[in-house]
Symmetry: C2
Subunit: 241 residues, 2 copies
């Protein structure tokens, strides 16, 4: 997060990102924890510069936080309830961190700007978790992946945002063929199935699932993957187009 400044960014409009990754059969969300006393969590977010488009802004924010340039993203909803502001959270944060913040810190400087009522555009992103190098911002203590079922309680409506993002993901995943953004370059059919099972939180029948996915005609079958296990070696696949 940069010092906003009134001129550089559009006022009272922000972007919040729900970054989905997949690992160990779990759908995960990348969430930073603020480096202050009091357990403050908030989705990666940012503001929109005057000379950039909103998708472009989301892309910039996502690159800053993940290191990935070519990222899959999509807006899913705007959040703009009356009085939607982080002011109570920030006031609490300041109260709990009087010493650390001092008087010159930008949080005090920009307090009024940051704590205005904000409308926020929600974007969700799908990434190959292995390619991400999570980038803490200067005010983050940590930034990590959390199973979407066990998310920390975040500020404002950020937990709702994740719910809505997942809802949209589930609706779009088949139609837009975007699931493969969550997987590495090559993968087995079982991995695809486990990914789907993580996303929908329900089991799929193995044979029918394979048929369904292959019928999409978007996978290229590569060589077999010998794992050393005492069973038939699965094929590797690559997503094409």
């Amino acid at each position: 997060m940069h010092v906003p400044g009134e001129k550089k960014y559009i006022q009272q409009l922000s972007i919040d990102c729900v970054i989905f990754g997949y690992q160990q059969r779990q759908l995960k969300v990348l969430i930073p924890k603020l480096d202050f006393t009091g357990d403050f969590w908030a989705l990666p977010s940012g503001y929109i510069q005057q000379q950039e488009g909103i998708d472009q802004a989301a892309r910039r924010i996502l690159e800053e936080r993940t290191g990935i340039k070519d990222i899959y993203l999509e807006q899913f909803r705007v959040f703009g309830a009356t009085e939607r502001t982080n002011r109570p959270y920030l006031e609490q944060l300041i109260q709990l961190n009087e010493e650390k913040i001092g008087n010159q810190h930008f949080i005090r400087q920009e307090f009024e700007w940051i704590t205005q009522r904000f409308v926020s555009i929600g974007y969700y992103a799908l990434v190959d978790i292995n390619q991400v190098i999570p980038q803490k911002s200067e005010i983050d203590e940590s930034m990590g992946w959390y199973n979407y079922k066990e998310l920390p309680t975040m500020i404002m409506d950020h937990n709702d945002m994740v719910d809505k993002a997942l809802e949209t993901l589930r609706l779009n995943i088949d139609q837009k063929l975007i699931a493969f953004n969550l997987l590495p370059e090559t993968f087995t059919m079982k991995e695809v199935q486990e990914l789907y099972e993580a996303i929908f939180d329900k089991p799929f029948a193995r044979n029918n699932f394979q048929k369904k996915i292959l019928d999409l005609n978007v996978l290229e079958r590569l060589e077999k993957k010998f794992t050393g296990a005492a069973n038939k070696a699965p094929y590797l696949y690559r997503f094409q187009k």
Copy 2:
């Protein structure tokens, strides 16, 4: 449209409304024409007051323009391309209407505010066209219903907005049971079918369509409607819940 003023509204954020109605087997959109020389058309739009939520703002704008309080609406997308502004259109408008505008008119006063780069939240609304009393704003010459296939060319990306709105409507119509918002209180099955045919721009089989709609279990069958025609009288239906 009111004189915006810097304090009352959120800056650089607007709402544009695609208001769908249905009449004479045609899906129509309510579009005002500005009362200036030069054929300027623009979707009904407005700004978000500091103390109101975005849905609430959309509702207010829609009520102002249609006279209907309890209106079905839904956000469908945010439009925020770089340099998205009505400035070139407004400059052209002013140039073509020098005499009419004069010096005291608010368009001159608020020119800088209005012509900033704007991010706009797109809402679509579904209304019973018979209940609408289109309300021109003070700067409109007219406000009328246009078949979505023969829309006038509007400013900025407003024609794209209608396309995206219709796309979303098509996706949501079955899932959310919202089609009936476009019909009057009571209607025949044929009217429902013709509505669907207008929306999807393709024919449906009569018997299967009837089955599909009745299987939704949301219609109440009322008395028959005798039109005087020499054929079996159709049932009237009412949407319930």
